[in-house]
């Protein structure tokens, strides 16, 4: 059972997540950029850099989008249990996570639109197309996990996995979830919205602190998406010997490592191809998985 937390957890959550996302960024940095120190230097350089501005940009919407991306990731993290304790174990935690992650759609589109630049706008539109591609099987995967625990509360989903992990008897949902975690953070094979073929897509015109917030927010979102897979499919804090928080850390690190490995191994996937695969292959599979779980739940 997830316990309620005190106020310090609310204060501690953002810095903890930022450190986690920075670690992910440093581990994943391209060879030759200097690893942890190089990433830190780059962030500091961007923070003191004067921001460029473009002609006739919509500054309000641009700033709104840039700030919204890390905000959405942080708000989504509020329902993620660390061990068995989350900042807020909402009765509709799964829906909350889904809603906050949807705010990233608005954030990326706004960031792409704001600078009044063609390549940047193309990036924003690409993310919407990608969102429409991944969202349907993604929602079905979330629904299946909630169905297995007969609750939308993330804490209850963790409790339901004291015995068997959901990843083991809902493998399709788990794989679909991992794929959409990459897609929602426009990462690895799904990085077309900020793809180098569009000179950096939605992020092309960003500089200074805007760039730190946007690209950092993207890594936050990846980290949070990976962290959510642990309570939903990998048994949360359940595990032998180690305490709950340690299992959460180990499992989250393993999922992040898997996602980073996928990034190195798979080529970039165009969103229209992913739409076809997602709608015609993954959606029926995810529905079949949900049906199977529903039958098991009804039969219990």
């Amino acid at each position: 059972m997830a316990e309620a937390t005190s106020l310090w957890a609310v204060v501690a959550l953002p810095p903890v997540l930022v450190v986690a996302a920075a670690t992910v960024a440093a581990v994943d940095a391209r060879p030759g950029t200097g690893g942890v120190a190089g990433t830190g230097r780059e962030v500091l350089r961007l923070l003191v850099q004067q921001r460029r501005s473009t002609n006739a940009s919509d500054r309000l919407l641009l700033r709104g989008g840039v700030i919204l991306l890390p905000m959405a990731a942080l708000l989504a993290a509020a329902v993620v249990p660390f061990g068995f304790t989350s900042v807020s174990d909402l009765p509709d935690g799964v829906v909350w996570f889904n809603a906050m992650e949807a705010l990233a759609w608005a954030a990326v589109w706004l960031t792409g639109w704001g600078p009044n630049s063609a390549l940047s706008m193309i990036g924003g539109y690409r993310f919407l197309a990608q969102g429409l591609a991944y969202e349907i099987p993604h929602m079905l995967a979330l629904t299946t996990a909630a169905l297995g625990a007969e609750s939308l509360r993330v804490g209850a989903i963790v409790d339901a996995q004291a015995g068997l992990w959901f990843a083991l008897w809902m493998p399709v949902s788990f794989v679909v979830y991992l794929a959409s975690a990459l897609a929602m953070a426009f990462w690895g094979p799904f990085d077309q919205p900020v793809g180098s073929d569009a000179a950096g897509g939605a992020g092309v015109e960003l500089s200074g602190v805007d760039r730190v917030l946007f690209l950092g927010g993207r890594r936050l979102l990846l980290t949070v998406a990976a962290a959510v897979s642990v309570p939903l499919f990998l048994g949360g804090g359940h595990g032998p010997l180690l305490p709950g928080w340690a299992w959460t850390l180990v499992k989250t690190a393993a999922v992040v490592a898997l996602l980073l490995w996928v990034r190195r191994r798979l080529p970039v996937l165009r969103m229209e191809r992913w739409t076809a695969v997602s709608w015609m292959v993954l959606t029926p599979l995810a529905i079949a998985q949900a049906l199977l779980v529903a039958l098991v739940v009804l039969g219990r």
Partner: protein, 187 residues
Amino acid sequence: MLSAVVLHALAALAVASGVLVFVVDSMARATFSLLTSLLCVAGVVIGLGLDYLGVVTVLMMTIEMAVMAVFMIMYMMNPAGLMPMTMVHNTRGSAVLCGLLFVLLVTGVLLIPWPEPRGRPPRDATRELGMSLMGPQMLTMMTLGMALFATIVSGVVLAVRGGRYDRRGDGLDAGREPGPSRGDVGG
């Protein structure tokens, strides 16, 4: 007390950003003012104890407005959608209509005999609301929902030219031709 203040602030913000939709001069700003307004409404719904409905409102309205941004900017009066443009037409007529409607609604609010609260609020307000709205008609509404969805899908299938069934025949067994858009699975 605090929750009442928050609820009223959210309500005021919802109305203010709703007004902004017609004041701003760009499609993008209008779309996202509307989203702000709807998010405030979702906050009010959560504040009323219907947290599931509130969070679902956030989810649906965010996705809807993001998609709407695409369509509004693609298809609206200004082909580019990028230039400053006015969000209103027939200003005087619509102002009169809106004023009349507002007066009608306010009169309704003030004159209707509101029921007195009885008993305690239910534990799961969302469920109670669903039961009182739908009651025994739940199955009918679910079926209706599926029928509507099937209609939308078939409408799109019939309207699309150069789709799979045009190119490869009703049995999908004619020769394989590349489609007008990339990304088809199984041609």
